[in-house]
Structures are given as C-alpha cells and as structure tokens.
Symmetry: C2
C-alpha cells in the first residue's frame, strides 16, 4: 500500500507530500500545460485536453467557471472524499454513482448488452424497456464489471528497467509485458481484493500503475425502451441534432462483508465513498461543464504516416467490411425478432465503428490533418537535423516510423482477414479462445497472455460463455462464408481454409454450439483438444501457428513503435520546450468546456439543445424513429412534470458542448460548476469523430442527454419515482 | 387599345381613372387584403402572397422598408415608366432587363435548354460555360421567347356571358375556351404585333386579358460553366445551404423596324421601356427585398380532398415514375458525353419535379396541411348549413368536389399511363403532335386546340423541331418499354399496344427520326397521315380515339371543377367576409419579404447567406461538386474584385429570404428597397416545396444568387468586363 498514491479516500493514508515525492522523479509527462498538441499548436485552445486528474491544480478551472476548489474535484488527501470517488468504469464505459447504494447512471448503449441478454421475445426489454415497479426489481448483468479508481503511481522506471539495449523489438516488447505483469501481480497481492493495472501513458516511455476496486455483481435497475434509449438508431448515431434518451440505471453489489464477489442473491449494494448530487436544473447554453471518465484511445501524438495508414488502409477496410457484416445481420434479423434480439448488440457495435470510421475518413480528407501534421514533422526534422547530437540520435526516428507503417500496409489486409476469422465466426472465436487458453495456461503465470493469467481467466471464461448464449449458426456461417470469399483462393489455400461453399458440412458436424461441449472443451488439455473431432477445433489447431505468427509480429511491431514513439516524444519535448497530455488510454481523465453550438458547414448553425418537441417532430412511427405512446401523450398534454426548461416550456432532451472526449467517455457524467450531475455524455457530433486524431474548437462537440429528460422519462413517464427518491430529488 | 388597361408606358394613353372605371365592376378579386388564405388564417403573415401588381397600393410596402413609392414600382400612368417595365417572361421563367439593349439576366437553369442546344462534345458550353470574349459574341436560342406585360383588363363578364345554365360541364368548359379564344384573337387584331392571353384568376370566376410584347429572337450572351451554374446539381437542388451560381445573360432582338421577328442576323437589340439598375452591394441579413415575376401554379384555394389526391395518388406516382426515367437516362449517358448532352436538360427537368414532389410529400405528411384544411372546411360547411339560402345553393359544393377527386383517383394511374406515352417516347410525341395538328387544323380557327391556332402554330412547330434535334432512339425505346411494362398486359391489350419486348422492329422500321420525314408528315393531311406506313404514326392513329376521350374527359372535369371552385370561392368570401389573392397562374405578381434564416428542424438554424468559402468546402472534384480551377485559384489568392462582403471578407454566393414564390419565379430579380437588382431568384428550400399548397412564415424560404457572386464570376473570374460596363457598373 505505501507504494501507491491514493486519493480522496478516508481509508488511504498517504499525504499529498509523500504522493508528490513518490511521483516526481518520472513525472515529466505530468507537468502538463494545456494547448500543446502537435496539431493546432498555433492557438491556445482552452478546452482541448483529456487531462489526467493529477493535472487539475494547473488548469485553473475556477477561471473557466468552476465553483468548486480543485481539491473538491480531486485530491490526494486520504481523509477527504472528492468528486472523482463518485466515478466508475462500467466495462468499457464510464458511470457515476448517484446514491449511497451504488445506483449507477450510465448510457443505454452501455447497458445494452445486459438488456439484450435478459430479453426474450416474451420479455423484450430492448423493445419495452426494463421498468421496475418497485425497489429491488433488478436483473443480473452477467459479464459486467464496475471498477473504481483508488490510486495510481508512476512506475516508468521500474518498467523500463526490464529493457536492455541488446534486445530486439519483440524481446523488448515481451520484457515490458512481463515486467508489467509482475508489478500488477505484486500490487494485487499487496492490495487484497483490488485490481491492479499498469497503463502505458506515452508509448514506450511512461507507465502508471492504477489500483481499482473491482465489482463483479452488477445489475440492471432501469432501462427505457430502445425507442427512447436508442431513438434515431444508427441513422442519428454520431449526429447532431440528437433526440436520444441514451441512459440507464445499474447497481453494483458486493458480498455482505463488503468484499468484491460474483453474483449472489445474498449480496448487498456496494457503498461508494462518494456519490454525485443530481441537479434537476440541467445545463443550458453558455454553462460551464466538465466530464470525468475513462476515454479509450486517441492518436494525437501519432505521425502523419499513421494518419495516412488509417486514411488509406485501415478505415476504408473497416467501412467496407463492417458494412457488409451489418447488412448481412440486418437481413437475417428482419423477419425474426428472436434472432434480431441476439444480433442487435453486435450490429450496434459494428455500426457504431463503421459510421465513426466514415466520419473519420471524411474528416481526414476534408481537414488536411495528415498534411498539416506532415508539415509540423518537417519543422521538427529541421530542428533535429540542425543539432548534430540530436541528429545522431533521432535523425531517423520519423523516417523509421514512416517505413514501419509502409511495411505494415503491405500485409495489412491479409492479416486483417486472418484476425477477422475470429470476428466473423463466433464458432471460430470460441474454438480459438478454448485452444489458446489451453496452450497459454501450460506456461508459467507471468509468461501467459494476459487474458489467461489466473487473475483474469474467470472473467475471460465468463465473457466467452455470455457470448456463447447468443450464438446463431445461420448468420455465423453466412459471415464466415463472406470472409472466405473476401480472402480469395490464394490466401485460403495458403492457410488450408475450406472454400466458401464448403462450410455447410462443417457447421452440420460441429458440436461447439452446445454449452456442454464448450464446458467439456474448456476442461481439456492441449493434447486432448488436438485429438477432438470437431471441425472448428481442427481448423483452429491448423491455423494456430498463423495466429501465433501474427501475435509475435504484433509484439515485434509494438516493440518497434514503442521505442520509436518514445524517442519522438522525447525530441518533440526538446523542440517545443513543453510537455503534452498523453493520448487517452482508458485511464481516468477530466475534460472541461462550455455548452455551445457550432457550424458544421457554411450557413448552418447548430444550436446546443434539443427538445421533446424535436423528438415528436422526428417520430415517424417506424424504427428507428418510433416513440412510446406514453411519451407522445404526455407531450400532447404538455405534462412535463418539474422538468421543463423555464423559457422553452419544453423538456430539453440532448445538449452539445465542446469538451474533449472519445470512446470510453460514454456514460461520463456531465457536471456543472458545482460538480452536480446535469447530464450523461453519450456521443460526439459527426465532425468530432475526428477527435481521435485531432481536436478542434470549431467542430469538436460532444453530445449528452440532459438530466431533465432522464428524470422526465424515469419519473413522469414511467413512474419509477423511488429512483428519483433514492437520488435525493 | 382603348379596351385595355395599360401601365407604365409612354406609348399608352389610358388614365388611371379610365383604368379603374373599366375594371371595377368585376374586380372583387382585386380588392385584396393580405393574410387571407384559408391556411394559417389565424395569424397575419405580412409576407405571404403573390400579389397582382394592381394590388401594390394596398400593401403599404413603405412600412416594410421600401424606399420607392408604389407608383415607381407599378403605375397605370401611360407617361411614366416603372420597375414592372423592366421585367420579362423568358419561356416559363422570369427575367429582368439590365441594359437599354435588352440584356436580360435570368437563371442558368432557365437558359439551360439554349446552352444545351448549342453544345457539342467539341464546344461543350454546358461543361465549359459560354464565355464571350467581346460584345456581340452571342448564340441564337431557338425555341426561346421573351414576353413583356404591356397591359391587362378584367374580362370576367365577357367570358362568363358565354355560359348558360343548361350547359353540361364539358359544354361549359368548351364555351369558355371558345370565348377566350375570341377575346384573344380580337385583342391581337386590335394590337398589331402583340400577344394576347386571357388568364383564369379564380377558377370558373374571374378572367383577365393580358397583352404582351412578344419577342422571338432570343440569344445567349453569357453562361457560366455548369460547375458554377448548376453547382450541387440535383443533390443540392431544393436545398439550403446553397452554393449555386444559377445565372445567365441573354438578349432579345427585334427587326430593324422595331417589330417582333424571328431570328435574323439583321435584327437589332430590343429597347425595353425600362431596365433595372444593378447594385453591386447585394443584400444582407435583415434587408427588405421584393420580387417581380411570373409564378406558375399554386393550389392554396384547393380543397383538402385535392391535397389528399396529391398526397396519395399523383405525387407518389410522379416520384416513382420520374425516378425510374431519370435512372434510365443517367445510365444511358454515363459513358457517352454526346448522348449525355442530349439528355441532360430532360433529366434536369424531371429531377427537379421529382425532388420537389418528394419535398411536397414530406411536407404534406409532416405539416398536417390536409387535416388543417379539412378542419377549416368543416367550419365553412357549418356556416353554410346554418343559412338555408346558402345551404340550398352551396350545401353540396364541398361534397361534390370531394367526390370528383375520389372519382378521378380511380382511373388516375391508367390515364397517366396513356398520357405518359407522349412523355416517355419522343417518337410517340412527335407522331401525336403531327397527327393531332392535322386533325385540329381541319377545324375552324376558334374550335382548334390552342396550340394549333394560327397564332400559335409556328411556335408549336418550332418547339417540335427543337425537341426533334435531341431525339435519341436507344433511350427512347428503353423508356417506352418501361412504360409498357408499368401498364401491364390488360391495359396494353385494351389499347392495342405492343408487348414491351416487341418494340425493336418498330424502332427499326420507323423513319420518324429523320428531319425530312418529320417535315413531310407536317405537310400531310389527316387522310395522308392515316395511310402512312410508319409504325409510330400507325400507333398514334390507333390510339387517337383514346387521347380524344381523355381530352374530352379533361374538359368535362375542368368544367365541373371550375363551376364548383367558383361557388366555393364565392361562399368562402361570404364566410370570411374577405377576398383573397388568386392562386398563381403565370401572370405578373409581386412578393416581398426580408433576407432571413430559418429553422428546418429542432436545434438547426440556417443562416441566410452562403459564401465562396462554402463553395470551396463543398468541392469534391466530382460532379456535381466540381469547381472551375480559376474559381479555386482566385479564392486562394483572396482576389474578390470589388465584390467581397465588407465584414465576411468573402464573396456572398446565395441568399435566403421569406418571399412567397413558386415555379415561374425562377429568374425573378431580387430587388432592394431602392428597386435595384441585388440578386436573381432561383429556388426554394426543401421545406418550401410545400409553398404550392400552403405558405408558412417559419419555413417558406426562397433562394437566390447574390449579385456579388454574379458579378465576381462574370467580371473577376471570366473577364466579361464589357457586360459589367453595359450594366453601367
């Protein structure tokens, strides 16, 4: 424990001083000043940046409108709670505790997998919503976890000490991986019941150990019908104006003794250290807002050649291939609601990425982002070339990165085809995970792939089984067949894959769709699995060397990129005489901004709030623009409860603001100047899909559901008043 | 002459008094007060209304911002010119004289047929524009006419005196038609060299005789490339924000003695009584604007049952069938520019109607227009039923109108199929016009269909021949085949039409595609034509009784509707104690408003001006978003000549304003408070396609090209400085 910086926790003992003392040596990346990104560096954009919470002191948010002290948002004083204690991670999303019984508000799309898993054609919670009539009517959400950040600590020196100059790139990568596992294992043994994770902040350069409370019994408390929670569907996804009530309530449970436990009826609600106050006043144009959350991945420190790789290779492939898969699954579910329920979550995930990728392609093409970055790199190269000692050390860094992407581009599609075997066919994926697990679990703990380490294996199996429930063979076969067609004969032959037309007998012969078979296989050794007759297991055994080759290639590449990008950040800091905010990496960040509109194109101005009247205007009665009769009726009666906007005389539905977000910020609470929850973040505007590569004050806008719509739907429409009471409203 | 009210003309002799005296008796329709339409009658919408210019005095435009006296816009003083003298009709569009040599500014899409007719793959004026290098470099525009309104006079009594109570509906219709022809013929004989036309103002109720100067030698003076004049193409058509430089210059010529004449090299420019001053200052948000022009058709006085007929029967058919034709023609022209040139004008016309119809369908569905009108009719019916004398006379009027539409709906598609034979196949159309002309021209002058009267026949033949030039048999056959498929076997059999697959030999055998054959047929008698072997002439001879039946049915229906709608207007006036503006009918009207934005949907605000930067942003390099290299280059150099907006520091391209317009207002000059030309009207926003049925201050917006863009393109980009000089700038 004493090794870790903890924060905002009465149970923690480290003082601010010891925390600073322990971190300062390796914390060059934490000495952050806003507005330092490579792109747009010619203007100071006050609202750019996904700041590690440790940076709060340097941001002067009070000048921007925050009415709290920075300490009230985040502090390292073990005796005082702070807002950050009210934030949690819900699988890949963010959530916020809104009661002392761990009631969590997050997005409908974050709870979607749980709603879907509980839905049948008889109890279609996707369609009708999950509307409890009294407290305690909840549904387990298998495969869901909630984690709460407890503390963090820079471990860069410790990690990088594992690397020696003689190592090649793959060795380097493996040495770092192994060292990280050691640190995590040690930290978990030091912090019983907690989860430890080392996050790479700057690639190949800085690493931070995070300690999380890790809750495994998560339940669904309230979900509006998809016609509210997913209103507009894939048509409106990534678009403003938006009219989606994208929220749900969940709850985290622990064993009666307070320890983390899997689902059990005996479990009791977790008690968060802090929960957020909900303000029914919502947020209006011009208001200060800030978001806390776990943004997933950005690539703002990547090179122009990376952007070109995205623009010319990866994104077009994703748009094309995902588009094909979506079409196939939609057709399959068109006249079969039971099948549609199974496929909906998968379609939603693919469609989300497909449309985001389209937005990014449009943004990359339109905004000259790669060309601008190339120009900045030219300036950096000139700076390097002018100083002999820099030139000797970094003169080739950019060129080598460019070459590495050029190299990767050559085989990118062929490699993607192989990896996509596990995406297209769930049978292939199950067989692979079972066999890969058996192979890896023969190895010593620290040499295993992370998913198969003892600390992770249960969750890996739980996810495997959750996915297995939704297996559907007709679509599985169609998707696999399409991928085999896409591969072409030469690649199929080289891998020993069947022709697209020959899949029928394989599917007929396979037993892998039975849960009993899956359980049996999970219990087998590598040798036993190699002897199994199931055609999909045989295919995986045959393909396994190729998957291993790709895994090794991946480690080699990532070792190379880590080294090169580490050098690039070092020399860039010398050049700009500044440090930067690290790219998002699914660790806790803060972003702040203002509720404000934007102009997506000449002569168009987007206002930053939508209304219930807009929902009604968009309603066609056909998916995805259906609206529940209750909602239409209350709108017509102008029954807005206490949730109407005082001037608009209507319920505000969604709001727009210029914070800096990316995937993973889904579910992030939108906080007002008092730190009260006024909405839930769920998306970005189409132009802002490009956020992942570059942020821009003119068009980077995030979208959230206004808390007034959340409360109106929960309270006035669906009468779950006890939840309103639980939130203290 | 003394029978006619004339205006703004030094050559005219009637005084205001005699004009008033001659018109008052039948002029109930001219005693107009704004804001009286059936729809939206609950609020006074100051900007609604396509006012006959005679109404100007009652509008108090000075209170709205006009800096001229009403007399300066329009007066009946023979000694004084007025703005109205500077307006002309260019085929179905409007134009404005902008020099004393009859330089006319109108839309690119209005001149499109002329540009297309002059274009070849070698001299592709559609693609490259027609850019004269010196004065006098002009191209004849065959088939184009320019007409200038000289005077008008109410002739309702004279027309309706032809009707007796005993007549059935067809007889009624024919009697009115014949009387109108008599009046027109007499007026033309009284006014040598002029054109006379009686316009029905309120159906079956009021008729006005218009006298026009009619110019037949029209030439193309300047056209920008389609990449400017049609920028955005069918994608942006009917849409805001718009970035289209939709303007062209033409010129009207007369014989050296000043009389109207067909094209001859000896002709000299016409001298308009008045030409409009162009103001290079353009128009900006909040500015007063007014338009003069010839709006074609609106249906604001039609019943809910008419709207339902449109919504359920006619518009869906148009969208479906036109869409199919467009697709076929686009595919045909995709790889053959010569063929594409022939088809472009036809595609543009169909696409325009198709998209407008889609907008109208959306508007009718969304805005509850039919239901609202039905509710108003219910109030009217209650009013009628409450007064026995009204009930006796008008009690069944609405019900009879409803029944008539219900009746028409039953056979609408079958009838449309027959009429569309002449739309789908030009060969069919040519054969029909030739044969129909021969039949009709056997009759006495006043009994002929209007197109074949001596006063019209030359123009009918000229149009026939202009169309014949663009005949293209492969597409002609495809389109006819599709229509035959659409008809189905039963209808084909009943009409004796060939099966879709049997057209090949017919096209092979026909000689009608030769200009010599067409000339020969035009010289033949009915009997001679009946003996002709050409398969298309034989088809037409066989189908002719069906076409005659439909024509007779049309007269019968129009007689019925005229009678019923005449009654409806009468009783509506009693009910509302007001009179109304008559629906648009291609006669001269004025509309006024303000340059202002609008909200097409919740949270979206459209600003009322676009810029050259927006053109560049939309430019993809692919049709319809190409931009000439010269334009891009000058934009990059920020060379805006003297045409930049002082604050925007950019050239304004298009403006948006809330005047009341419809088709026929294309090319209408946008006039500022001083009556100076500041732009050229060319379209409406998508939501405003519904204008034809109902006007609304919230979304009825017209779109024009800002004169600054016109001048920048003409002067700065294409160096046609002599035109700028001719306009006196």
């Amino acid at each position: 424990m004493s090794l870790l910086s903890s924060f905002c926790s009465k149970k923690r003992r480290l003082s601010l001083v010891s925390w600073e003392a322990s971190l300062v040596p390796a914390l060059s990346w934490l000495l952050l000043i806003p507005c330092l990104l490579v792109v747009n560096s010619n203007q100071c954009l006050a609202d750019e940046g996904m700041f590690p919470v440790s940076e709060l002191g340097s941001l002067d948010l009070q000048a921007k409108g925050l009415k709290l002290t920075s300490d009230e948002v985040f502090n390292t004083d073990a005796e005082r709670t702070c807002l950050v204690d009210g934030i949690c991670k819900v699988n890949g999303c963010t959530g916020a505790f809104v009661s002392n019984k761990a009631l969590i508000i997050t997005n409908h799309h974050c709870a979607y997998r749980a709603i879907q898993a509980a839905s049948t054609t008889e109890n279609d919670y996707l369609k009708n919503g999950f509307i409890p009539s009294k407290p305690g009517e909840e549904i387990p959400a298998p495969g869901y976890t909630v984690r709460v950040t407890e503390s963090f600590k820079d471990v860069s020196e410790q990690v990088l000490a594992a690397v020696t100059a003689e190592m090649d790139f793959a060795q380097r990568s493996k040495a770092i991986e192994r060292r990280i596992k050691e640190i995590e294992t040690q930290a978990e043994s030091d912090n019983a019941g907690k989860r430890a994770e080392v996050a790479e902040m700057f690639a190949g350069k800085t690493y931070v150990l995070f300690i999380y409370t890790y809750l495994k019994d998560v339940r669904l408390v309230f979900a509006p019908p998809s016609s509210v929670g997913k209103f507009g569907g894939d048509v409106d996804n990534w678009e403003w104006p938006r009219h989606t009530g994208d929220f749900s309530f969940m709850r985290a449970y622990v064993a009666p003794d307070g320890s983390s436990a899997s689902y059990s009826p005996e479990n009791v609600p977790y008690q968060p250290k802090k929960f957020l106050q909900v303000s029914a006043a919502g947020a209006n144009e011009g208001d200060f807002v800030m978001l806390l959350g776990y943004p997933g991945r950005t690539a703002r420190h990547k090179t122009a050649s990376f952007l070109e790789f995205e623009q010319n290779v990866r994104l077009p492939f994703v748009v094309d291939y995902f588009g094909q898969q979506i079409e196939t699954m939609q057709a399959a579910g068109a006249n079969d609601r039971a099948l549609a329920i199974k496929l909906l979550s998968r379609i939603a995930r693919l469609a989300n990425v497909e449309k985001r990728s389209r937005g990014q392609l449009k943004g990359l093409a339109g905004a000259n982002i790669a060309a601008n970055r190339r120009a900045k790199e030219k300036e950096l190269q000139d700076f390097i070339d002018a100083a002999p000692e820099l030139k000797a050390r970094y003169g080739q860094t950019l060129a080598k990165i460019d070459m590495a992407y050029a190299e990767a581009a050559k085989t990118a599609e062929a490699e993607a085809n192989v990896r996509n075997l596990l995406l297209a066919s769930q049978l292939m994926s199950f067989a692979f995970t079972v066999y890969d697990g058996a192979v890896e679990r023969q190895k010593p703990e620290l040499e295993r792939e992370s998913a198969y380490m003892t600390r992770n294996y249960d969750q890996t199996v739980a996810r495997l089984k959750a996915g297995h429930r939704d297996l559907e063979l007709v679509t599985d076969q169609q998707l696999l067949q399409q991928l085999l067609e896409r591969m072409g004969e030469a690649q199929r032959a080289s891998l020993g894959l069947p022709a697209p037309g020959q899949l029928g007998p394989l599917y007929k012969a396979s037993q892998l769709s039975s849960a009993a078979t899956l359980d049996a296989y999970l219990a087998m050794s590598v040798e036993q699995l190699q002897a199994v007759e199931d055609p999909f297991m045989r295919l995986i055994v045959k393909l396994y060397p190729e998957f291993q080759r790709l895994r090794e290639l991946g480690k080699q590449r990532s070792g190379k990129f880590d080294k090169l990008y580490g050098d690039l950040v070092t020399v860039k800091q010398l050049f700009q005489k500044l440090t930067f905010v690290p790219d998002a990496n699914a660790t806790l960040r803060l972003t702040h901004g203002t509720v404000r509109g934007y102009s997506p194109a000449d002569a168009i101005w987007m206002r930053p709030a939508t209304t219930l009247a807009g929902v009604i205007a968009k309603t066609t009665g056909k998916d995805p623009f259906e609206t529940p009769a209750e909602v239409v009726e209350l709108f017509q009666k102008k029954d807005f409860g206490r949730y109407a906007h005082p001037e608009l005389k209507d319920v505000p539905v969604a709001i727009l603001y210029d914070t800096d977000t990316t995937g993973g910020n889904s579910g992030s609470p939108i906080l007002n100047a008092q730190g009260q929850l006024v909405g839930v973040n769920f998306d970005r505007a189409f132009e802002a899909t490009i956020n992942d590569f570059a942020w821009n004050t003119n068009y980077s806008r995030s979208i959230g559901v206004d808390v007034r719509y959340v409360l109106w739907i929960t309270d006035t429409v669906y009468k779950a008043n006890f939840l309103i009471g639980e939130m203290g409203l």
